[in-house]
């Protein structure tokens, strides 16, 4: 009986520390993502994620940014973006800078940051997801 109690406590303890560490890792990812945003993205997408009308699209509230197509987001970060497309019904004229030097974990962090900043509340992006996205984008290209 006493033994079981100990087991339960240990289990609860493990669970909580697990939660805490997940939480900590998540916070760390967002801190890294914020740093990348400030050095590489803020100038165009602005500190409030609101973008610049007709030039640079908002990331705050953007359906693609909050959406499920992680492969597309990864491709945009890596290759930049310069196409005549409507984003949430609006056209933008600037050309987005490519980031070929960003590592997979950095891409995961910047995407997690923009998906969880301002009013955005979408899932975090993991390194595994980024790896899968890169493989998928490569296969598509061939």
């Amino acid at each position: 009986m006493g033994n079981n109690k100990v087991k339960v406590f240990v289990n609860i303890g493990l669970f909580v520390s697990c939660l805490l560490s997940v939480h900590f890792v998540k916070a760390q990812n967002l801190v890294n993502g914020k740093k990348i945003f400030e050095t590489r993205c803020l100038v165009c997408h602005q500190s409030d994620g609101g973008g610049v009308p007709n030039m640079n699209p908002p990331l705050d509230g953007a359906s693609n940014v909050n959406g499920k197509d992680i492969a597309r987001l990864v491709k945009i970060i890596q290759n930049g973006y310069d196409e005549r497309v409507a984003l949430d019904g609006m056209y933008y004229n600037n050309a987005m800078t490519a980031n070929p030097d960003l590592k997979e974990d950095a891409i995961a962090d910047i995407l997690s940051f923009i998906r969880n900043s301002w009013s955005n509340k979408a899932g975090m992006v993991t390194v595994l997801q980024v790896k899968a996205a890169i493989a998928k984008n490569k296969a598509k290209k061939k």
């Binding site: 602005q46 009308p53 007709n54 030039m55």
Partner: protein, 418 residues
């Protein structure tokens, strides 16, 4: 009861319009000037033109919610607010100009001509004449703003589809192309015959080059000369953090206003104008180090404005209503910056450049401010928070000027009370 509500709502309306008139539609103006909100929410109003009878035409960047991209506005009862508003045309764009009984309007790749009747109504909304087509539109800097000289020639801006003519645009470490191949078909002002149909590049002439992107331009009828305002290059700090701090990028390069002669070269992408050193400096993409001076052959600006404020409209004041100091000087509208981030933004106003003997005196001043709708002393941090961004400028027959806004589509009318 019904009557009471009616009276109440009428007096409320009178009160509101009174307040709006009293506070000059939110604008801050020099003593003796007043402004009215001539129109609002008409769509992304870029350049504007006013007929001799006072009818205003606005070119929209994209079709508005009624599906129109040219809007006609009329203020028949002359209270400073347009009450008759309609529109047509599916093509988005920036340029609009009235010459005689013709209304010229541009898409991002062509210039069309419409005919006006004696009431300044458009006779052929569905069948304009194509004056020029096939101009480059590669998204970036694609506005084809237009003006005319005193003969019947059109001057059109063809902006460079690039920031600094790098091999890969806006990419850290990518070198500038030498010579810059973009300049053959863009990055300058082209001249066409305003009376000839169906012209393309081969019928036009590159009138001036080395201009990254010009949106505001106007013909100075006093000196018989073209004046243009250039949008300087972006992101010196993003791509060359070892040469430029964020604070330096916020002030570099100048937004430049040029008195253009045929054949002039303003130096983009090889040089930019540094308003602190008062020099043309070699671009870092072309081996510059933020100090090395550029070739003397490139044109010096008539006036250098603070960086990144984005000049959108130029208007020489030839009206008779404003005080004498404004006569033949230039108004320039500034859209407001984004590339001063992370520092606060600047612009969002209409400036005035006094002219003496046909030459700009460098002492420009802010003429109309407050478009962004910020509280006193508060700067815009994030560009999309600006309520209105000044764009087109036009002179009315009574000497008032009009200023358009391309965010929600306001038009302000500014007059002087004698």
């Amino acid at each position: 009861m019904k009557k009471q509500i009616q009276i109440l709502s009428i007096s409320l309306f009178a009160f509101c319009s009174n307040v709006l008139a009293q506070n000059n539609a939110g604008l801050k103006l020099p003593e003796g000037f007043k402004a009215s909100l001539y129109a609002n929410n008409i769509g992304s109003a870029r350049h504007i033109a006013v007929t001799k009878s006072g009818v205003v035409f606005a070119k929209l960047n994209n079709p508005n919610k009624e599906g129109n991209s040219i809007v006609r506005l009329e203020d028949a009862n002359n209270d400073g607010v347009a009450e008759k508003i309609n529109g047509w045309a599916k093509f988005g764009g920036t340029g609009i100009y009235i010459k005689g009984n013709s209304l010229y309007a541009s898409s991002n790749e062509a210039i069309f001509k419409y005919d006006l009747n004696s009431k300044d109504e458009v006779l052929n909304p569905l069948t304009p004449v194509t004056i020029v087509s096939g101009l480059l539109d590669r998204r970036q800097h694609n506005s084809k703003s237009i003006t005319f000289d005193m003969a019947n020639n059109i001057y059109v801006n063809i902006g460079a589809y690039s920031n600094a003519c790098q091999e890969k645009d806006r990419m850290q470490g990518s070198q500038g192309m030498m010579p810059c191949p973009i300049l053959d078909s863009a990055g300058g002002i082209w001249k066409f015959d305003g009376s000839k149909q169906n012209q393309t590049y081969k019928d036009g002439k590159r009138y001036a080059t080395g201009l990254r992107n010009v949106i505001g331009l106007d013909w100075n009828t006093q000196t018989n000369q073209l004046f243009v305002a250039q949008h300087g290059r972006d992101q010196l700090n993003s791509f060359y953090p070892n040469l430029y701090t964020d604070a330096q990028n916020a002030e570099l390069p100048a937004e430049t206003f040029y008195a253009i002669n045929e054949g002039d070269n303003a130096g983009w992408p090889y040089v930019y104008y540094d308003p602190i050193q008062h020099k043309k400096i070699v671009s870092p993409e072309y081996g510059g180090d933020s100090k090395k001076e550029g070739a003397a052959e490139f044109k010096d600006p008539a006036v250098a404005f603070p960086a990144h404020m984005a000049p959108m409209g130029v208007l020489f004041y030839t009206g008779d209503q404003f005080p004498a100091k404004y006569k033949n000087g230039a108004f320039i509208s500034f859209h407001g910056s984004w590339n001063r981030s992370p520092l606060p933004q600047e612009g969002f106003f209409v400036a005035f450049v006094p002219f003496k003997d046909g030459k700009a005196t460098g002492d420009w001043e802010i003429f109309a401010n407050g478009f962004a709708g910020m509280e006193d002393g508060v700067k815009v941090t994030n560009t999309s928070k600006a309520k209105a961004r000044p764009c087109g400028l036009a002179l009315g027959p009574d000497g008032s000027i009009y200023v358009s806004d391309d965010t929600k589509g306001a038009i302000f009318k500014i007059s002087y009370n004698k």
